[in-house]
């Protein structure tokens, strides 16, 4: 009897453990029935918007041709929900946003009210992770998204990740998540900024290349001398500055690097500076940043002291080493300081606290919590900033070459 009860108990336990797993069989949805959207593009039209959705295409089977790693769906609609309904009605898949990487806005959309409408989306019900980033495309969102595809590399997510890797390798790209955009909109202690994308139609890519050489074009091999060959047609050319929820200015790639340095987000990069009529290229690595606000009478003054490890990548031939060291210690930091000040003035002129000095003001509790946003925006208009760069010469401190 006891044994029978034990066996029955085991059976019941097994059934109970299996039952929850089998619950997934109720209303199952196959993976092929989903279309995973990895980028959403928004362009403004006379009435409403033009939405472009890039769906991740599954790797094609051997023997078939691939036209690219993403399938594009686009339509005109007054709102995001309207676009989703329209595209689902003429597509065999159900759109799934759980893998969304980028919201790409055209410049006019970013300067208009598109960001506000973006924030009104229910990210939870659409299953959009707030780690997605916003990109502003000078050329238009649809074109920029199309330029991120490659024929030979169908993994379009990997291609999109290259934008983030560019940020880590060069320090000339600044990407903030939608979560930071929501925070900027809610808290008001800083302003958002987004990568500014551009599309170069002259770049020759493999998009028209066929898998068999005998069948069609091979544009990469047929390109003439001087033509830009390979890679993607879309790239990041700088940073779009926002004041509140509207785009109000832009920075170049080089200015973005200084922005990243001041914000403490710079890791590695190179910079070319004038030196005695010629130029020196330095390899820089961030050591530390010390920053804050000096409250004074009348005017607030922000400061940032940036310490970088510097190695000489290329220098004029025959340039004396002692003079180079002297230049590195004094003139180079002054040049970097000028560039940082120039970047700050552009940000302030655009009314954009992209350098996050409002965060320092909040840390130092310069204004009451309840009225912080308004008080800071008022104070930022007259904010002055001073920058100090310290370069640690790694060629000297590394102990020189071998014995």
């Amino acid at each position: 009897m006891k044994r029978a009860l034990f066996v029955f108990g085991l059976f019941a336990f097994g059934l109970l453990c299996a039952a929850p797993m089998l619950c997934g069989c109720l209303g199952p949805v196959s993976l092929e029935e989903y279309g995973y959207v990895i980028s959403v593009g928004v362009d403004t039209m006379d009435e409403g918007y033009y939405f472009t959705f890039a769906l991740q295409r599954e790797l094609s089977e051997p023997g078939t041709e691939s036209e690219g790693g993403a399938e594009l769906l686009a339509c005109r609609a007054a709102s995001f929900d309207g676009a989703v309904k329209e595209l689902e009605s003429r597509s065999p898949v159900k759109l799934n946003f759980s893998r969304l990487n980028f919201f790409v806005l055209s410049r006019s959309a970013a300067e208009g009210g598109a960001v506000k409408e973006l924030l009104s989306l229910s990210f939870d019900s659409l299953k959009i992770r707030s780690s997605a980033a916003v990109v502003v495309a000078e050329c238009g969102a649809s074109k920029f998204i199309g330029g991120l595809s490659s024929n030979n590399d169908p993994n379009v997510k990997k291609l999109q990740s290259a934008v983030m890797l560019d940020m880590e390798r060069s320090g000339m790209v600044r990407i903030l998540s939608v979560s930071r955009l929501m925070e900027a909109a809610a808290g008001g202690a800083f302003d958002y900024c987004a990568p500014l994308g551009e599309y170069d139609p002259e770049v020759i890519t493999d998009m028209e290349q066929k898998s068999s050489e005998s069948e069609g074009k091979d544009p990469l091999r047929e390109a003439g001398i001087g033509a830009p060959v390979g890679g993607l047609k879309s790239r990041v050319e700088g940073t779009a500055l926002f004041s509140g929820l509207r785009m109000t200015g832009e920075l170049t790639r080089e200015q973005t690097m200084y922005l990243n340095m001041v914000c403490g987000d710079f890791k590695n990069g190179t910079v070319t500076l004038p030196c005695g009529g010629e130029s020196v290229t330095l390899m820089l690595r961030m050591k530390r940043v010390r920053r804050g606000i000096k409250p004074g009478e009348g005017v607030l003054r922000a400061y940032a002291e940036i310490e970088l490890e510097a190695g000489v990548h290329t220098a004029p031939k025959g340039f004396p080493e002692e003079e180079l060291d002297e230049w590195l210690a004094h003139e180079a930091p002054a040049l970097l300081r000028e560039k940082a000040e120039e970047t700050f003035l552009i940000c302030r002129g655009a009314g954009s606290d992209a350098m996050l000095f409002g965060v320092d003001a909040e840390k130092q509790m310069l204004f009451p919590c309840e009225s912080f946003a308004g008080s800071w925006r008022e104070a930022y208009r007259g904010l002055e900033a001073e920058f100090r760069f310290i370069l640690v010469n790694t060629d000297k401190t590394s102990g020189g070459g071998a014995l």
């Binding site: 039952a19 997934g24 109720l26 992770r129 780690s131 998540s177 965060v359 909040e362 919590c369």
Partner: protein, 362 residues
């Protein structure tokens, strides 16, 4: 003696998991004051205070020489049952609250187009099965899974660390010390209730093992876990964002996006933490059943466990039928004033234990 120690150890592990789950997922940081967040102070403080109070109570219960349900016998069957009911209700709410949070998360963030009832069918049967087996069985399950759950917590925080910024703490300090202490007192409900479950489940043979350490150690550990969880949330999100956000802890890695699949492990972590919530719910339901059975003098806890499970299922399904405002109001009242529930039962048991100790000395 060893069997009794092992029984108490497994119950203590289940209680620890329950303390951590209730402390992390029970309170809603935005529920008391808008635009501020000092949960990383008030919740761990509540855990420490509850641990200290539990330590004093457990020492008293032990000196009384009776099990927790037996301590309510001197008040008579009817009054004793009435005194046990507040703690039983508290255990029921502590069982239901984290489960309802997770079911909402699964519905809103994980499963596309899912129906609440199907998600509950996914979660509830296993929870109720564990509850029916008793707190010791739940504890043995907790011993196996606690490491995985703890590791997933730590991994989530490590992944999110680049996005932490201390300025978000300054924005949340608007509450003031008085409000923070008041919140700590309210949050002690989520710690005192599962802690008392250890005493409830301690049988006659376990009494010698029931010491002040049985409450203090879980209280301190839970305080550490809750501090880590709530400070991570506070360092990742501005307080103004937390009001409408459900389970902010699973989204902290989204603040600083990096390439790599590991930064998309949020749903995996939610599934692992769900196991913790199921263990916590099963422990609370089993403890409630043990308490009511003990007070009513029933030989087996099974009937009481089934009744508690049915009540828990009802409480999970009921909000779907009621207006959303009413649910929020009830939740707010219990979170705000619920600390009185375990306090009533604990006070009655403490009085009885004190009298019993005096009687023995006399």
């Amino acid at each position: 003696m060893k069997k009794a120690r092992d029984g108490l150890r497994s119950v203590s592990m289940a209680a620890l998991v329950s303390l951590c789950v209730c402390g992390v997922f029970g309170p809603s940081p935005g529920s008391f004051t808008e635009g501020s967040n000092t949960a990383y102070i008030s919740v761990p403080l509540a855990a420490l205070v509850s641990g200290a109070a539990g330590a004093a109570l457990f020492a008293l219960f032990r000196s009384g020489g009776k099990t927790f349900p037996e301590l309510l016998d001197p008040f008579g069957r009817a009054v004793g049952t009435a005194l046990a009911l507040p703690l039983a209700l508290g255990l029921l709410f502590c069982a239901v609250r984290p489960l309802s949070v997770f079911i909402q998360v699964l519905h809103r963030l994980v499963f596309d187009g899912a129906v609440f009832a199907l998600i509950q069918a996914f979660v509830l049967p296993v929870t109720f099965f564990m509850a029916a087996k008793g707190a010791s069985s739940v504890g043995r399950t907790a011993l196996v899974l606690a490491g995985v759950i703890g590791l997933s917590f730590a991994a989530n925080m490590v992944l999110a660390a680049p996005g932490f910024d201390a300025y978000r703490l300054y924005a949340g300090l608007g509450e003031g010390a008085g409000q923070t202490l008041s919140s700590a007192l309210s949050y002690s409900f989520f710690f005192m209730t599962p802690l008392l479950g250890i005493a409830v489940n301690a049988g006659e043979g376990d009494l010698r093992g029931l010491s002040h350490r049985s409450a203090l150690v879980p209280g301190v550990k839970a305080a550490a876990v809750c501090f880590a969880a709530h400070i991570s949330t506070a360092l990742s999100f501005h307080p103004a964002m937390l009001g409408d956000m459900i389970m902010p802890l699973c989204r902290i890695a989204f603040v600083s996006p990096k390439p790599g699949a590991i930064y998309r492990f949020d749903k995996v972590f939610v599934m692992i933490w769900l196991m913790g919530a199921m263990i916590s719910a099963a422990y609370c339901l089993a403890s409630g059943a043990r308490l009511v059975s003990g007070v009513l003098g029933a030989e087996s806890d099974l009937t009481a466990a089934l009744i508690f499970c049915a009540l828990a299922a009802g409480l999970l399904f009921l909000p779907l039928a009621l207006p959303a405002g009413l649910n929020e109001r009830v939740r707010f009242i219990i979170e705000r004033y619920g600390a009185a529930l375990p306090a009533v039962t604990a006070a009655a048991a403490a009085v009885s234990a004190f009298r019993e100790r005096r009687r023995k000395r006399a």
